[in-house]
Symmetry: D2
Subunit: 348 residues, 4 copies
């Protein structure tokens, strides 16, 4: 009953086996390993983008930050959701790598509305040299609230950016969870929807620690490489990144894992819907649920062995009737039985 985070679960055994296999003998470092050549081709094929630049990096903060550093200028502002990971959870890393600032677009269920985005972008750069200039748009899919943009919604947002001459970045830390939920192709969820560069996550979906940075305009490739190195993010024993990503992508493992995680989430959601004391805050669409419940109920769950974050208060201290928000995240490794056990506990 561990629903704290999708980065708290184990890596998939096939990923581990690939690591072991990659550990044989000698291999040139820094991305010149032969597995990386295969991975690049694999990802270009997957995205139907034979010219895309493809790089591996150790985590999502680094993927986002090096990409945004490559896409933004230090006198610009990056547009993103007010609950975006790049704003709330990366301790100024995107600003560190880019020099730019962030302009926050309001959200209700974790999603930016096209009108709000348009208004925020239009409001910038009316002060000539005095104010920050318009930089890239960054969209998070799956959002931080567990919701999804439809393909049309993605395209609408990126079209606004494009109309202002801006590029669009996709923070896809949970790319696979979104993809299987939308039942679309990687190309459809990215460049066909106007996305220029993607943080393609693996870590939260069964890898040890690896994300791909996919840049559809190869003209940015060399700058990305220099920024990655300058950030200390070019790994010497790079084959261990390559091997993870190769196993991740082989035989649809990544999609299977995302489907499993999402299925467990839907099972949880159904159970929560049937429970009087709990109220879901957003309609879960991938592998994450936010729900409200009285403090006493959270405490009861915790005492019963359920592990998850309570976001806005201490389950142990305070008015037992006060509603508090819990977050449940599922990953590939959870079983239907584990979820049932949680729901049984919830039902009391």
């Amino acid at each position: 009953m561990f629903f704290a985070s999708d980065n708290a679960g184990p890596a998939h055994p096939k990923v581990m086996e690939a690591l072991i296999a990659a550990n044989e003998g000698y291999a040139m470092g820094y991305g010149a390993d032969p597995i990386m050549d295969a991975v690049r081709t694999q990802i270009q094929g997957l995205f139907e983008a034979p010219d895309a630049a493809v790089y591996l990096i150790i985590n999502g903060t680094a993927a986002n930050s090096v990409l945004l550093g490559t896409m933004a200028q230090p006198w610009q502002t990056i547009f993103c959701a007010d609950v975006a990971h790049i704003h709330e959870d990366e301790c100024n890393a995107p600003e560190f790598y880019s020099g730019a600032k962030l302009t926050l677009v309001p959200t209700t269920d974790g999603k930016m509305a096209a009108d709000d985005l348009h208004q925020k972008i239009a409001a910038e750069q009316n002060r000539g040299v005095h104010g920050p200039q318009r930089g890239p748009l960054s969209i998070t899919q799956v959002t931080e609230k567990g919701t999804l943009y439809s393909l049309d919604e993605l395209a609408a947002l990126s079209r606004i950016a494009q109309d202002f001459g801006m590029q669009t970045h996709l923070d896809g830390a949970r790319f696979a969870n979104a993809l299987v939920a939308l039942d679309c192709t990687p190309a459809e969820m990215t460049w066909k929807a106007g996305i220029d560069a993607v943080s393609f996550g693996g870590t939260k979906n069964g890898a040890l620690g690896v994300e791909a940075c996919v840049i559809f305009d190869p003209a940015l490739a060399w700058e990305f490489e220099l920024r990655r190195k300058r950030g200390g993010h070019l790994l010497s024993k790079h084959r261990f990144l390559s091997a993870q990503m190769q196993a991740y992508l082989t035989d649809g493992l990544w999609l299977d894992m995302a489907r499993a995680a999402n299925a467990r989430c839907m099972q949880l959601a159904e159970g929560l819907r049937g429970h009087n004391a709990a109220e879901m805050l957003y309609e879960p669409q991938a592998n994450m649920i936010f729900f409200q419940m009285p403090r006493s109920e959270h405490k009861r769950m915790r005492d019963g062995g359920a592990v998850y974050y309570v976001m806005d208060g201490d389950p142990e201290v305070g008015d037992p009737d006060e509603p508090l928000t819990g977050r449940l995240v599922t990953d590939w490794s959870m079983t239907a039985e584990g979820v049932s056990q949680f729901l049984d506990l919830l039902r009391g």
Copy 2:
């Protein structure tokens, strides 16, 4: 016959086993995993420094840069060898993280002389607010030329820094190789010799990718944590760093591996000494040899299957008699037979 780099070899099987073992079940991320608690204690014990702050990070460039960012101010200059890795091989990462500049101290065999260091430090900060101010000293041990500072030499350098009110950082990417060669304790090679913070390398000595940052003044700990996060270097599935380091340190594995690497290097050196055409440029003291040989000889070795870097020219193109510099690096995984095979080939 692969002597290109000590980061081209495999990780030790025990390190891989530890990864597999660490992959069981759920674990809190970002350094809150239980293995990290054990590792911290292990390293504090090893360094006889129960209050030291200990952090893990994915590679040497990151270890050096986040540490120097914590130790230096953006209006300062960091003193280092003119051949230091932080100057030549990190694409401005130390400057990126610290904002400081580097002042290069001349070297002959990769080592700074105390007099030269003193002169360089004394020459700075005579211009009041106009010039850069004196920042930390960074010493590389093993040096980039495969040589070693004795404990007395280390202490002499750090004492100069201390006399100017400066701190001293040790770039220990090859810490273990130095330690077994000097046959001393970690404490003797660090804080007892005046070192304030250490990049304690694992990657070049049999890990997949992990370095410890050891800071003897715990007052710097929180700033280090924030700078690590802001650089995108705090890993979510941190247990995979912890597990590597734990295996690395258990039962003296790290020392055994370093001894093996150094032994192979001594075997190589002895062979080279007996070879007329080759001349060693520095007295090898750890696991790295620089030697000169005519181009034709390098070509012959390459054709025979030996892999190593020729630093100052193409072995294939040019005057066959021109002497070129080769670099041989050994790691834990090499066998005495492999080295013999190389030497046999050399002898023709």
Copy 3:
């Protein structure tokens, strides 16, 4: 009828005379001129802060940015009004100098409410190392909307900051206008109200270009000096800054100029109140008015020779009845006749 900005008017003749006088003979540069010694004492006396560090700098963006760079850390966030100059009009300069980000506190009439500030501060730093940490608070007095914080309101805001262990910066680009409007002492409007450092403006109030940075904790002095130099903001012929500030402060010239500017503003406000077509958006308290009027009226004023900014549309193009916002700023050099002329034109 020039109401575009208080930095568009001339410098006071006494300031110009002081420049001429300071131009005699030789003087050591970089702040070592004898006039600076006098200015420092003058300002320390004025602020009843004999230990305050006092520096001169060429403009308000530089004053704010170097001060905030000294007060904030690159992993922090600076709290400020959503309409603050440091956010809207300095092209990321505060972020450039500090590395920090900005957290915007909502405003109605240009002022932050204590509750909103508290909520914004409380909401940060709940994510441990993952989110930005709490940095300084920056308050603008006179606000960007021409309104004022009372001394109690200032104290309430800075007390909130203090309770969270944060320092408070005052952007006093229009310090004098605020001071004479509140009829208080510099000490009362700063350190007695909990302010730790002040951008004390001269440029908008009759100087050529000079601001004082006043830091009540002298421990920050040397870092400020280094950051000023590193930003290229230490002037060699510094006596021309010192001379301006000396003349500005002598015999209450600065207060006289601010009183004159404010008086013209009140005259304008009275006239606007009596005009049906115009509606003031905020109660003007210093030297700046924001008012709404139909486009056709703005156009009529412009055609009649009145110069001021229309903030949200082109007075020439669009629906003649659409209300647009005009901004009127007065400075020391305006005459009552000039204002009457404007009001006569307005009345038609």
Copy 4:
């Protein structure tokens, strides 16, 4: 007898008069003043570069740093003399604005030799993504030792840069002194000699504080403007910069002042040559002399009222016979009588 620095002397009366004249009435700020339009045309004409972008900035550190920030990338290294002002005297400002590092080229008399420059450039960027990449070259004319590059020497250096695909910046803090000494045109000393951008100094040659940044490739103009603003270097009352520069350039005032300064320097040099105890270290070619003399002689001069910097020791304390280096700088305001007085004192 004040020879401490050319920024210690007064501004020329015509510059002051221009300031007074520019102070009439209202003028739009931030470079939109009408005088700036005239100055831009004036400088474009002077440099025979009708498309050049021209900006004014308050001092030389800012001019160099904003220009180099515009020309260099943060993963590059800027090549400059080991005694360059951008290295020794700007407290990391060029690094702050550019993110790049500096590679120091050895000098003897303040000048880089073409061979040394070539070797330093060739040695960089051989490490692929690992080392810093080649950024711009920065040449100082007049050098920090008072010597000059001939036009051929300038062209030879910039051609080397060009062959490596690099741009060249000229630090012309003493541009006028060099120009009249070489008796050439601004175009000949800049773009005709391969220079891409110039810090065109006024401050050291009779202005209060103004430098022009002249960029021959207008494609860089907008980025320069944004970087200037982001550094806090766009002045609101910009007309006071424009007015200075206009007066400076009108009727050849700037050339007359430089000729006067250089003439006084030659007078000094002649006197020093005839003095046994003093030895000039470099052949003075503009307005600066470095000379050695026993400590006792420096002390005698100081006691007699001569003011200048002794670079390498305290004239008051130490062996009276030890030779110490003095620096003498002349400016436009010095009289032949003043110099004679100094030389008389020297002769004893």
